[in-house]
């Protein structure tokens, strides 16, 4: 049991952080939000620096690192409110590498690492029930609808969950004229769309295991993004409370403010542990879906709790868009609802309550 990052991990985190702080001004993110676009400049840099490939298999030209390293990169991106499909692309490629047909994915992965392919998951169907899976390609062609597809607009491929002879499976669909999109104005202000497939050519690239893996990885990565938003809001709040003066004192010296901040820090640290523990366990193939659900439930409730307390401490300054706080509030809530909200994840954890648990080994 050791929470220390090793030297490689520290180097990775610090270089991503330093790059983002130097090269990604929040003004650019405000502009991207207004235009509803993804950050192509940052995306090229992520590919060129090799950061995207860090957790991918070495045979694909990746770094062969674990999901913990993926988490470190994604957390830094979330702390900077970056608008890039990193979580989506990594979830697709890793799902295929871990449980899909790696042969069929090798070319896709090579193109993705070069920045020319951007595969994103398309899993949710109309009706709001994440377990629903009605789509089924016929004769290799896909008809139907997927909802809340992140970065559907800029993606070159959709990795679509659909039935294959009654069993869940994954199909790769390349962008073409058969795909229509209805862009959404979601609370997180990242590009999302409802997507309709009208006879799109779909290639099977994985079975039920890959389909489940895509959902678990996406959920884990969304948990990391919640954590990053909460951490950034906490950091900014501590800075603000240290310099904002009222009644002749920094407001951070008032006990009421200190206690809010202490509660925020406790939420962040507890979720940080559970999220990285789940990433490490899933890397080793030892995380049950229930454990991942509990980690996401933790991060999903931490992001709103922490960012809302951050607003309480910032007062009016926190709600105007010239201030950076809203990025984390809105993005945090968006990711908190993505791939299983607190309630949805807790509902999953209701299964297996009676099973004897070994508290030592987590959920």
């Amino acid at each position: 049991m050791d929470l220390t990052l090793d030297t490689t991990q520290t180097l990775l985190r610090d270089s991503v952080r330093a790059y983002l702080e130097a090269e990604l001004p929040f003004e650019r993110i405000r502009a991207l939000e207004r235009e509803g676009r993804s950050d192509d400049v940052l995306w090229k840099a992520l590919c060129a620096q090799g950061w995207l490939g860090v957790p991918l298999p070495e045979t694909w030209g990746g770094g062969g690192a674990s999901l913990v390293e993926a988490g470190l990169v994604l957390e830094e991106l979330a702390k900077r409110a970056a608008i890039v499909p990193a979580a989506e692309v990594l979830a697709c490629l890793l799902a295929l590498a871990r449980a899909g047909d790696p042969e069929s994915a090798a070319a896709l992965a090579r193109d993705a690492l070069a920045g020319s392919a951007v595969p994103v998951p398309a899993c949710l169907e109309p009706g709001g029930d994440p377990r629903r899976l009605d789509l089924a390609p016929r004769g290799g062609l896909l008809h139907g609808e997927k909802r809340f597809v992140d970065y559907a607009e800029s993606a070159t491929h959709h990795l679509v969950s659909a039935r294959d002879g009654g069993e869940p499976a994954l199909f790769l669909v390349a962008r073409d004229a058969t795909i229509s999109r209805r862009p959404l104005r979601a609370i997180g202000r990242t590009p999302q769309a409802h997507v309709r497939y009208a006879g799109s050519r779909a290639t099977r690239v994985g079975g039920a295991g890959a389909c489940r893996e895509l959902g678990l990885l996406s959920r884990l990565f969304a948990a990391v993004q919640c954590l990053g938003a909460a951490q950034a809001a906490l950091d900014q709040t501590v800075r603000y409370a240290s310099v904002r003066v009222q009644f002749g004192r920094a407001i951070g010296s008032f006990q009421a403010v200190k206690h809010h901040a202490a509660n925020m820090a406790m939420r962040v640290e507890a979720s940080r542990f559970l999220v990285y523990e789940a990433l490490a366990a899933h890397s080793r193939g030892e995380a049950t879906p229930r454990r991942i659900a509990l980690a996401k439930a933790s991060a999903s409730r931490t992001a709103p709790e922490v960012t809302l307390l951050a607003h309480q401490i910032h007062g009016g300054n926190g709600v105007i868009e010239e201030n950076d706080l809203y990025f984390f509030t809105l993005r945090g809530k968006d990711r908190s609802l993505a791939w299983g909200s607190t309630e949805e994840c807790l509902a999953e954890a209701c299964e297996g309550l009676e099973r004897p648990r070994d508290w030592l080994h987590g959920a």
Binding site: L5, S242, K258, A262, E269, A270, L353, W359
Partner: protein
């Protein structure tokens, strides 16, 4: 980052479990419940076994506490608490390591063996009627007379004072110094002339005490550390106390007992989706608390002194304890009112009802959670004073 447990830790846990299986009899638990862990022939036998088999030395090393493996302590306390076993008290977890660090060679020679073999038991003489969270304003005084100190004053919440062999007592030795710089620590035999103990019955069924000191004479050799240097020693000892208060075993046990009782006795209630949703949330709370407790143990394991981390674990564990007990009784419904005195009528033998009555003390004991949050903000987040 490494979240798995090495084989030697898992083997140690198995060893602890084997010892528990051997000793955990209804008679011992009965004796423990009746005396609130203070005393009894079976408890003494169990403590002697813990000492003999080296559990104490491995988990709470008295000499060179820093070289000990804090994960062994974590696992040991967790298992003991989970199974409701008397694993010792602040004498081992707090006084022993503190005395080992600050005591004279003579004090270590005289007290450490007794602490190690379980024959010595210390009660903490910190709080006074007018010195609670503001402990440094304590007024019990000690005056040097020749080779002795003469102590006059009153302490409160001196739990275990009626059965302890000694009191670990903080007293003012320089009334003119700034309040943190005029306090010294003494080891006072409980049977010394002038020490009087008055029990205070508490709503959880046990009792704590007031203690009065009327011209109590203590040899200079029983002053711990230098005169007027008591405050850092108290802070050091309190940190150890918080580590123990943050333990997760008892909380996990309450949760498991609740689920097990519902499964066996009220399966229809356990099938209710709303009940299950509440339980799932409590389980998540437990995992989150356990995360903070492990973070705390990790700081110690790498040779640091957890300050904000210990406070976080203390706050989360003690508040969760109250939440689990409260939710548990809610879920039991009217049956939740029954204490263990009702025998087979009481759900889970009354342990959940008892948990509710005792839960408040953890939140303010060992430093109130409000003070803990101040510490998190100051030491952890560096917010201005």
């Amino acid at each position: 980052m490494e979240f798995t447990w090495p084989a030697e830790h898992l083997a140690f846990r198995d060893e602890v479990r084997a010892l528990i299986r051997e000793w955990r009899t209804p008679e011992l638990l009965e004796e423990y419940a009746k005396s609130y862990g203070a005393d009894g022939p079976l408890l003494r036998g169990f403590r002697a076994a813990l000492a003999e088999r080296g559990f104490l030395e491995r988990c709470f090393p008295l000499e060179n506490a820093a070289a000990g493996d804090s994960w062994l302590q974590f696992l040991f306390v967790e298992e003991m608490e989970y199974w409701g076993m008397p694993y010792g008290n602040l004498t081992w977890t707090s006084i022993g390591p503190t005395l080992s660090r600050f005591g004279t060679e003579d004090q270590k020679r005289r007290y450490l063996p007794g602490i190690r073999d379980g024959s010595l038991c210390f009660a903490l003489g910190y709080s006074e009627p007018n010195a609670g969270s503001d402990l440094a304003s304590l007024r019990t005084k000690a005056v040097r007379v020749g080779d002795e100190w003469v102590i006059d004053g009153q302490k409160i919440w001196t739990s275990l004072a009626d059965v302890a062999t000694h009191i670990w007592l903080a007293a003012r030795t320089d009334p003119d110094a700034p309040k943190h710089q005029g306090i010294s620590l003494f080891i006072v035999p409980r049977t010394a002339p002038g020490v009087r103990v008055r029990p205070l019955q508490a709503m959880y069924g046990g009792h704590t005490n007031e203690t009065f000191y009327d011209g109590v004479r203590v040899p200079h050799a029983d002053l711990v550390g230098a005169p007027n240097q008591g405050w850092p020693i108290i802070m050091h000892a309190l940190n150890f106390e918080r580590v123990a208060l943050a333990a997760t075993g008892a909380l996990a046990r309450l949760f498991d007992e609740l689920v097990a009782w519902l499964a066996a006795e009220r399966p229809a209630k356990l099938a209710d989706p709303l009940v299950r949703r509440k339980l799932a949330e409590l389980e998540l709370d437990l995992h989150e608390h356990r995360a903070l407790a492990q973070r705390n143990a990790w700081i110690i394991a790498r040779g640091g002194t957890p300050i904000a981390e210990a406070s976080m674990a203390k706050v989360s564990g003690t508040e969760l304890r109250a939440r689990i007990a409260n939710t548990a009784l809610d879920l039991l419904g009217r049956e939740g009112v029954l204490s263990r005195e009702n025998g087979d009528l009481a759900p889970a033998e009354g342990r959940l009802e008892f948990a509710y009555r005792i839960a408040p003390i953890f939140r303010f004991g060992g430093g109130t959670n409000e003070i803990m949050r101040d510490i998190i903000a100051a030491a952890g987040l560096r917010l201005p004073r």
